[in-house]
C-alpha cells in the first residue's frame, strides 16, 4: 500500500520527497499547495480565499488573502492579493500544474461587523483578486462572497470541489 500524501507546505524550504494524506489548514495570510488526496481548509471573514486547480495534473492551491495591495512589501506574499497570486502560481507550477489549465474559485469578503471599513476591505480584496485573475486569463468558475457571515472553506484537490459552510445554512458546493 502506498503511503499517503503529506500535505506539503511549499511556501518555504525544499520540496518534500514523501507525502502523507492530511487536511491542511491555511492560516490568515498564508498559501498552501497540494496534490490529489490533499484537502486545504481555511476560515474566512473579510479575507478572500482563492483556490486554483489544474484538474488534469491533479494539483491545486489555496491562498488566504488579507489585503488587496502589498505596496511593494514582499515579506508576506500570501497576505496581499498582488503578491499571493504570483506566489500561488509559482508553487503550483513547481508541482507540475500549468497556469493555462487553471480554474479559480473564490469565497469570503464578508462584512461581519456591518461597518463601512469592513465593507470596504472585503470589496477591495475581491476587486483586486478578480482583476489579477483576469489579467492572467484564469477563469473564475465558482464564488461565494459578501454578506455578513464567516465561512469555512474546504478545497478537495482530488475532485476540485470547494465546500463552503456557513452557520445556520446548508453547505454550498462550488
Amino acid at each position: 500500500m502506498s503511503k499517503g500524501l503529506q500535505a506539503a507546505s511549499l511556501t518555504s524550504g525544499p520540496r518534500p520527497t514523501e507525502i502523507v494524506a492530511a487536511d491542511r489548514k491555511v492560516g490568515m495570510g498564508q498559501i498552501e499547495v497540494g496534490q490529489r488526496g490533499h484537502v486545504l481548509k481555511t476560515l474566512l471573514g473579510s479575507c478572500v480565499g482563492l483556490t486554483l486547480h489544474d484538474r488534469r495534473a491533479g494539483v491545486g492551491g489555496l491562498a488566504h488573502i488579507v489585503l488587496p495591495d502589498s505596496r511593494g512589501d514582499l515579506t508576506a506574499p500570501g497576505k496581499f492579493a498582488d503578491t499571493a497570486l504570483p506566489e500561488l502560481l509559482r508553487l503550483i507550477n513547481e508541482l507540475g500544474g500549468r497556469t493555462e489549465k487553471l480554474i479559480a474559485k473564490l469565497a469570503g469578503a464578508a462584512n461581519m461587523f456591518s461597518s463601512e471599513a469592513g465593507k470596504l476591505v472585503g470589496e477591495q480584496n475581491l476587486l483586486a483578486v478578480e482583476a489579477l485573475l483576469a489579467s492572467r486569463r484564469i477563469p473564475i468558475v465558482g464564488r461565494h462572497c459578501g454578506g455578513t457571515q464567516g465561512r469555512r472553506m474546504a478545497f478537495y484537490i482530488e475532485t476540485g470541489e470547494v465546500t463552503i459552510d456557513i452557520l445556520g445554512s446548508e453547505s454550498v458546493v462550488l
Binding site: K25, G27, M28, G29, Q30, L43, L44, G45, S46, C47, V66, L67, T75, A76, K79, A110, M112, F113, S114, S115, A117, G118, V121, Q149, G150, R151, R152, L167
Partner: protein, 218 residues
C-alpha cells in the same frame, strides 16, 4: 515577553500593562456588582502574536463563538470583545435576568439584551479604569465606546475582522486579554481589547510620562 511592538520601549510596555491592569480591575469590580456575585479575573495580560496566529487566540478548533463587540472611541479606537460559548453566555443571561439557571435556552431578544448590557458595563468599566490610569494632571484621556453588537459565528472569522486594522500595518498583533470566571458557575468569558494602529501610536505618546497612581477614581 519578547520585544512587544516596535513602538514601545520596555518602560512603556510596563506602563501599558499597568493601564490594562487598571482596566481589568475596574471591569472585574463592575461585573461583580452587576451580577451580585464574586467575579474574578484569572488571566490579565498584554499579548503579542503573529498575524497568522491571531484568529486562533480563542482556540483553533474551528468552532463557533458568541461575541459582544463594542468599538472604542475617543483617545483610542479599535474593537473590544466579550467572547463566550453558548453555555457561558446563557448562564450570564440567566443571572442578569434573575432567572433560574438553565432557563435561557436560546438567543432571543431578552438573552441578547442581557449579554449586550453586560458587555456595555464591562467594556465601559474597562475604559474607565484605563482612562483614569492614562490621564495626567494636564491631559485628560477620554475613552467612550459605541453601542455593543451581538455576533455568533466561527471564532476565527470574527477574530480576523477584529485584527484587520492591525493587519494593515505588520505581521504581528498586540492585544489585551482578560478572562473572567465566576465562583460556582461553569462559565468562561474572555475579554479582548484590540487597539488599532493610530491607537497604538497614541498609547506610545500617552505612555511617555508618569501614569496616574493606581488608576483609582479621583
Amino acid at each position: 515577553m519578547a520585544a512587544i511592538f516596535p513602538l514601545f520601549t520596555p518602560a512603556q510596555v510596563e506602563k501599558l500593562t499597568l493601564a490594562f491592569h487598571a482596566g481589568a480591575a475596574s471591569a472585574s469590580e463592575a461585573m461583580t456588582k452587576w451580577l451580585s456575585r464574586p467575579t474574578v479575573i484569572t488571566i490579565d495580560s498584554v499579548d503579542q502574536c503573529s498575524l497568522e496566529q491571531a484568529p486562533t487566540i480563542l482556540g483553533d478548533t474551528g468552532d463557533e463563538v458568541c461575541m459582544c463587540l463594542m468599538q472604542m472611541g475617543g483617545d483610542l479606537s479599535g474593537p473590544m470583545i466579550l467572547a463566550f460559548d453558548d453555555v457561558s453566555g446563557l448562564v450570564l443571561a440567566d443571572i442578569v435576568l434573575g432567572r433560574q439557571k438553565g432557563t435561557s435556552s436560546g438567543w432571543d431578544e431578552f438573552e441578547k439584551s442581557a449579554v449586550l448590557e453586560s458587555m456595555n458595563i464591562v467594556g465601559c468599566a474597562y475604559l474607565n479604569g484605563m482612562a483614569r490610569c492614562l490621564s495626567k494632571d494636564d491631559e485628560s484621556v477620554t475613552l467612550v465606546p459605541a453601542p455593543p453588537i451581538f455576533l455568533r459565528d466561527f471564532a476565527e472569522s470574527l477574530l480576523q475582522m477584529a485584527f484587520m486594522e492591525q493587519a494593515t500595518e505588520g505581521r504581528s498583533v498586540i492585544f489585551a486579554r482578560a478572562r473572567f470566571e465566576m465562583q460556582g458557575a461553569p462559565i468562561k468569558w474572555t475579554f479582548l481589547l484590540i487597539p488599532d494602529p493610530p491607537s497604538i501610536a497614541r498609547l506610545s505618546q500617552l505612555l511617555q510620562g508618569d501614569l496616574s497612581s493606581s488608576g483609582r477614581p479621583q
